[in-house]
């Protein structure tokens, strides 16, 4: 009988553990206080969330003690948009940070509101790449696709996208390409091949198919590309430059390379959610996030390319950022994300059905 009770207790404990594990998905970075206005932001997870919290949210909260910013991490832009759409009858989110490739359809479906310079005056100071052509949320930072590698195990550091196929790295490449990484890589390969990706991506897809035969160790590295490379579980990976560079500052065995004249610009957007419960405060925060103070911090400490033309950086600081003029993206590709947004579903479907499975 005692044994049966003990087993029942063990089984119950196992169930509780399982339930707690299931409940851990989707986390919030900062806590809220009931006395303050809470602006709810949903966006990218991991290192970006930590940097955004440290370099943008905390200084803003310090300057605005009556406002709390609650940041919810979601793995992908689609997941963030899905959360916003699911909450549309009783919206809980104010701001959403999503890839430009995911923003277009969301705009068409009325998920986000337009943001004018009257709402957020810092829009007037944006660099051209960051401006929105249709009046919706502007870009909040500029980053580039990058190759990352483990300095301890890689003899010859990769220097171009083609190196992902290098037999020297067979079974040691990690990349998650069923998302913006894949879209950017296709644009980068088309640039290298001299192709126009608005006409056809057949050649690039054929190239990517060659990664299937054991060249890639994982298309879903755990916990992420950066950690897999740093731990030595993989030798080479595909990552985002700014995040990888910050990661490499703390993990000295990680090297980061943006191919010379071959970087691929990513310009994620910051959006006002349609029906945002705290619209006024949300717009103030959005304005701050694209302004010179926040952008300067993101560029100097996070290596992101600044979207504000008012940011002043030394040549050395600029060369380390993902800036298009003077940064690692100099001479690289700035994909037509508005076009890619129209074919994102098709491209991702091809990647999923013909490359990763």
């Amino acid at each position: 009988m005692k044994i049966k009770s003990a087993i029942a207790f063990l089984a119950a404990s196992a169930l509780v553990l399982t339930a707690s594990a299931c409940g851990s998905a989707g986390s919030t970075v900062s806590s809220s206080s009931s006395a303050k206005t809470t602006v709810s932001v949903i966006g990218f997870p991991g290192l970006f969330a930590q940097q955004f919290e440290e370099l943008v949210i905390k200084p803003y909260e310090k300057a605005n003690p009556n406002v709390t910013i609650k940041y919810t991490e979601k793995k992908t832009s689609a997941e963030s948009i899905g959360q916003v759409v699911a909450a549309k009858n009783r919206q809980t989110y104010d701001i959403a940070i999503v890839d430009k490739s995911a923003q277009g359809d969301a705009n068409k479906q009325g998920v986000f509101s337009k943001v004018s310079a009257d709402d957020a005056p810092n829009i007037n100071d944006l660099v051209d790449t960051a401006k929105s052509e249709d009046g919706y949320g502007p870009s909040v930072y500029i980053d580039s696709l990058a190759l990352i590698y483990n300095k301890d195990t890689v003899k010859n550091a990769p220097s171009k996208w083609e190196d992902l196929w290098n037999p020297e790295y067979k079974g040691q490449v990690v990349m998650s390409i069923n998302n913006a990484f894949g879209l950017s890589l296709i644009a980068g390969l088309a640039h290298d091949n001299g192709d126009d990706y608005t006409k056809s991506i057949d050649k690039e897809i054929d190239q990517l198919k060659q990664l299937k035969g054991g060249q890639v160790q994982s298309f879903s590295p755990t916990p992420d590309v950066y950690t897999s490379v740093a731990s030595g579980a993989a030798q080479v990976g595909l990552g985002w430059y700014a995040r990888a560079k910050s990661f490499a500052d703390e993990n000295t065995n990680v090297g980061v390379v943006v191919p010379k004249n071959g970087g691929v610009a990513l310009t994620p957007t910051i959006n006002l959610v349609e029906g945002a419960p705290n619209k006024k405060e949300a717009l103030k925060f959005l304005n701050y996030a694209i302004g010179s103070e926040a952008q300067s911090a993101l560029a100097k400490k996070g290596y992101y390319g600044p979207v504000s033309s008012k940011v002043t950086l030394s040549d050395d600081e600029l060369s380390k950022t993902a800036a298009i003029d003077g940064g690692v993206l100099e001479g690289g590709v700035v994909p037509d994300w508005n076009y890619i947004a129209t074919v994102t579903t098709d491209w991702l479907q091809v990647i999923k059905q013909e490359i990763t499975s």
Binding site: A14, T18, A78, F219
Partner: protein, 284 residues
């Protein structure tokens, strides 16, 4: 008595209402979504019903392959689990109580660790720089076989997670096994193998079937282990439902896949019950 009956009725109404609200309402919503027009953002607001997602499921070889992979993995896990859990459960029931209890604790203890942690444990073992690959390299195998990103690797991880559940179900189902019947058979000249075949196996078949069915169903719907051990190279129904819902935002397809999973459960339960009934008929 009347008061007792009223209390029972109230409790029953609460249970049925909770089940209806928490299970049936979402299920109806999933069913409705499965027949909605796909859109790039979730699903279209149009009230029109369409079979587009189901047509895509039936005609696109990608989804047919996913269904096949899910069935293969579930079958492999059910077999692997049965092969290990069955002798364990028999030992728990047939061995002296003290040893049986010790075995039971030994089997159940891994359940105290989260299945996510156990899955990551398998990454350490099966990974390219993991225990198995390192050992094989030490033994002179230059290119050890990749176990991560394979159906076998996923099945191994899932089997380890479900062995305790299967053992518990089997040992409780085998509780009624009367060992005197085995002794009687052996006294009458039956060999140990014949005793097992003619006495023990028929008496434990129900428990074996039930646990295999549970493990099969749990494996078909498992998400974390296939996601982590599959390395993005092996898709199952559960991982595809997640991808369709949150990566591609194709909620009608995610819902259609969920319906397929439910139909799969129902089909398995019907098949197992028919087989069980048939076996009972033959035995009697």
């Amino acid at each position: 008595m009347k008061r007792h009956l009223r209390l029972s009725t109230i409790l029953l109404v609460i249970a049925v209402a909770s089940l209806a609200y928490l299970y049936l309402v979402p299920l109806v919503y999933v069913l409705r979504t499965a027949f909605s027009e796909p859109s790039s953002i979730g699903f279209s607001d149009s009230a029109a019903l369409t079979l587009a997602s189901f047509k895509e499921l039936a005609t696109n070889p990608y989804y047919v392959k996913i269904l096949g992979t899910t069935l293969i993995i579930s079958l492999m896990v059910a077999v692997m689990t049965a092969l290990i859990a069955y002798p364990l459960a028999l030992a728990i029931v047939l061995f002296p109580e003290r040893i049986g209890n010790l075995l039971l604790i030994f089997v159940v203890t891994p359940m105290l660790t989260s299945s996510i942690a156990r899955t990551f444990g398998w990454v350490v073992i099966l990974g390219p720089t993991g225990l198995i690959s390192s050992t094989l390299r030490t033994l002179g195998v230059a290119q050890p076989p990749q176990l991560m990103g394979t159906t076998f690797g996923i099945s191994l991880g899932l089997a380890q997670i479900y062995i305790p559940y299967a053992t518990l179900i089997m040992s409780s189902a085998f509780g009624a096994l009367n060992q005197n019947l085995s002794y009687a058979a052996q006294t009458l000249g039956a060999s140990k193998m014949m005793t097992f075949k003619r006495i023990i196996l028929p008496l434990t078949a129900n428990g074996l079937f039930s646990s295999c069915m549970l493990v099969f169903v749990l494996s078909a719907s498992a998400y974390v282990t296939p996601q982590v051990l599959g390395s993005g190279k092996v898709q199952t129904l559960a991982t595809e439902i997640y991808d369709s819902a949150v990566v591609a935002l194709n909620w009608p397809m995610a819902s259609a896949l969920a319906i397929v999973l439910i139909v799969l459960y129902a089909a398995i339960m019907i098949i197992v019950n028919v087989v069980k009934a048939h076996a009972e008929r033959i035995r009697s």
